[in-house]
Amino acid sequence: MKKVHPAVVGAQPFQLAEHRPVERLFEDAEGRDRLEKSLSRYPEKKGALLPMLAYAQERNGWLSPEAMEEIAEALDLTPAYVRSVATFYTMYAKRPVGRYWIQVCTCISCHVNRGEEVFESFLEHTGTRAGEVSEDGRYTVIEAECLGACGFATVVQVNDRYFENVTPETVPEVLAQLEPGEPEA
């Protein structure tokens, strides 16, 4: 197989996310409530797009095509537009992700601080390819755009937690910290 630059992987066309049943977003009171609250904050419906994408991810763990379609419908946008916004942000997961979603910054500051190597190292230690879920369902590693902590490059975000000054060598430590007590994956 031709080697593909990792950045391209998640966005190769027609690698449609596997379809697993996802909850509908706006069919229950909770979803409708979130939608209405969000809508009330913006002059245009379109404004609620980012919050609703975040909500879908919060609810289903990732942003499924179905969710994007539902959001498009709710906000009078085209599905293509919703997807263009969703894929612009690396923090929206367009495919199901593992329990630990490891986002390695490879933007400029991190890049000069061996960000790519850190990224490769995470792939190696988790035994996955970019964007893939590891066999045990634990890890997904992706490259991220600037995580806004450039002073502490290389920066790695795992779910909601930041790890700073990560080097390729300290990757096992980071992984070990994720589940204290459990042996490293």
Binding site: A11, P13, F14, L16, M68, A80
Partner: protein
Amino acid sequence: MRKVSTPPETVRLTIDGQEIEAPVGSTIWEAAKAVGIEIPVLCHDERLPPAGVCRVCLVDVGEKRLAASCVREAADGMSVTTSTPKIEGLRRGLVELLLADYPDDAGNDDTKTERDELRELAAAYDSDPGRFPAGNGRPIDGSSKVIRVDHQACILCDRCIRACDDVQVNNVIGRTGKGYATRIGFDLDDPMGASTCVSCGECEKACPTGALTIASLWNGAAAEARTATGRVSVAAATTDLKPVDSVCPYCGVGCAITYYVDEAENRVVYADGRPSPVNHERLCVKGRYGFDYAAHPQRLTKPLIRRESAYPKGPLSAETTSSNGRRRKPGGLVDYDEVLPHFREATWEEALELAGRRLREIRDEHGPGAMAGFGSAKCSNEEAYLFQKLIRAGFGTNNVDHCTRLCHASSVAALLETIGSGAVTNVFADVENADVALITGSNTTANHPVAATFMKQAAKSGRTKIIVVEPRHIEMADHAEVFLQIRPGTDVACYNAWMHVLIEEDLLDHTFIDTRTEGFEALKELVAHYPPEVAAEICGVEADEIRRAARLFGSAGTAIVFWGMGISQHTTGTDNSRCLISLMLMTGNVGKPGTGLHPLRGQNNVQGASDAGLIPIVYPDYQAVGDAEVRAKFEAAWNAELDPEPGLTVVEIMGGALRGEIKGMYMMGENPFLSDPNTNKVRKGLANLEFLVVQDIFLTETAEFADVILPATSFYEKEGTYTNTDRRVQVGRKALDPPGEAREDWRITCDLATAFGYPMAYDSPAEVFAEFTALAPSYGGLTYENLGLTGKLWPCPDPETGDGIQVLMGDTFPTPNGLGKFVPCEFEPAKELPDEEYPFVLNTGRLLEHWHTGTMTRRSRALHEIAPVPEVEMHASDLAMLELSDGDRVTVTSRRGEITLTARESVRMTAGSVFIPFHFREAAANVLTIDELDPHGKIPEFKFCAVKVAPAEV
């Protein structure tokens, strides 16, 4: 009253040292262009709103940063330099970056029909494509049947996105991904062929690179043919491919098209929309990709005579033999192997002599009343004119009709009765000046796709609010402010309730009612019995929704209505139309810009064929056959005695054939076997004819019953004028030579007339047109010369300079007393309501990709591949109730017959009704339909009959 217009405000600026004045709001690029200064662009296309994403058009405006001239507005006092070494260096760098991973085979002259603007710039800047490393491959998407997507050649200029969103308003394309991985994506990054793309080709037309190209130019046959003829450059189209400015042969929108013709091969290579008030260069999938049927190997090339052994007459192929489908083979075309052996080839002399002689004998023996003719709304005005002239002056009968009977006869009946003219009062593009557009009984995006783009654009601009009233959740409903999903066949109740609300809330134009109309009191009385609550019960929608729609409509300053077969193809079709007309009259929405009555015409020349007199009650230009003065005029012109009695209509003629009263028939380009209701009856009628002459380009189902078949020319092989739904008369020009011995339809009609004993001879369609326009005041003054490239609207008082009158009936109606008439109508249910045995309502209609009986479109590669099989659309709950699932084979049965096809779950349906397109002979919807007629328009009720659905027996 228009105020004296103040000159448009302008700004003054200098560009490259030149002092110029430009209208406020123009961009620097536009201002420069106006004085002949060219600034290079890549992402900019004048037909699209500017995006400013490629930065090739950077100019120096004296600020710290350079400005993108395609988006930056020209300002007073601005001083612009369009070219400096720094700017040129930047442009060159940009082009080199884009070129770095531009595939070698992209944008080559063979496959790129528009200019490859990237390669042009590269040449202009003498760019070095190797200066930057190439990125890794982004893929090719070959899933669309018509467009090849090479993501690697895409420069992300967004032109396709804007073309899809802003011009065609199909909203399919977006960007997907980030950074280097960014690509254009269809819907949720589906393969193009699996997306909601409707293959209009607008994106391909807009793309400045080799990213989006016409798929057929890449496929083996076409590519080989190109090498064989030594032509490798499409860019050299002007020298190698001959451009022919013509129009589209499909629907009544009448888009202006340029066909690019390979003369050596006698083949249209590709088609493109051209500038015209009708379509603004836009096309739909049929016009852009559906031209190849003309080159199908099954074209008839020699006259055919039925062999002795094929008598007594009857259907010849298994498919046409019976309705129960038992012996039916899959597939969409008449089986030539089965049918052709029953005919023998003949010379034109022999075939014409036989046809002329036998028709003459029948006429002489049984009288003119035993004769009839079906003309076609696919043929030109000239051909329609000659056809009816032969039937009337030669055969001596008014039994001449055509397929308009099956589409808008009821609308025309209502229009003639109420406002005195059956043509549209305004053009469809004027929807942009309407506050409200009511679209009803028309699946516009499928049946008038390019007209629909104007409606969707108007809605998108926020200027126009759309109200859709429809039993199906059609695509247009997604663009509507209000959508009333009424039960099928309940239109009269719905509109009576609207009128009730308008009267109750006084949303009326009293001046208009008082000065321009009559009969309002009677209408008022009748609709008083239709409060929204009553209609809500009948129509199955909320009373408040009806109120909301009526209020929105009533409070509009200008409103226009578009309607289609969903209104007309009912036994209450005339009533439906009358209600729409009343609605417009009481709100004064006729005769001004942004208002009007627009029954969307189906066929490319249905307006023209009617204008030319293919109607049993009128001569050309709607001059009544019963009027002695008129008749005298035509008798003198045609040098024959004419029948003062109105003739029979399509379904009546078929009935006459069945009863043995009609014996001799001449059919030009019509296929009643599939298009008329109740196929089983049509079969018997056709078989019962003593002599039938069929003139067509393929051997149709109807031709199986013919005694003589005459090979005609396709649209592309002849010249003629065609009148679109707007009343625009346009010239269709000859692009190809006819195959074999096929002859132009107008010539065949002349030859047959001569053989019959009513000699006709013309040198050209223009000569016929001159004779026709002299007898048809509405067409007065029009000639081939002054029709020019974009045609003219009739009536056209100053044909040498003007474009014709767009808005009709501004001061008075062409009725005897000049007033418009209200005709109140009570609601009446459809003729065959669902019951326990036949619980579903069957609705029939068309698909975007196909045309009527499929004779043409099923022989077009792309169209056939996109929609190859017949399907019945059903609501999920109905499928579940019948324990069926999407994709199952089902048998649909009515009291008249049964067909077997595939069930398709559709969110566009409501429970209780099913939809079947009538294009597919292997599951012909008209086997099921009922031949009940509207009493005024004599139009059959195609849109409503009761059926049952069951799993197909295997």
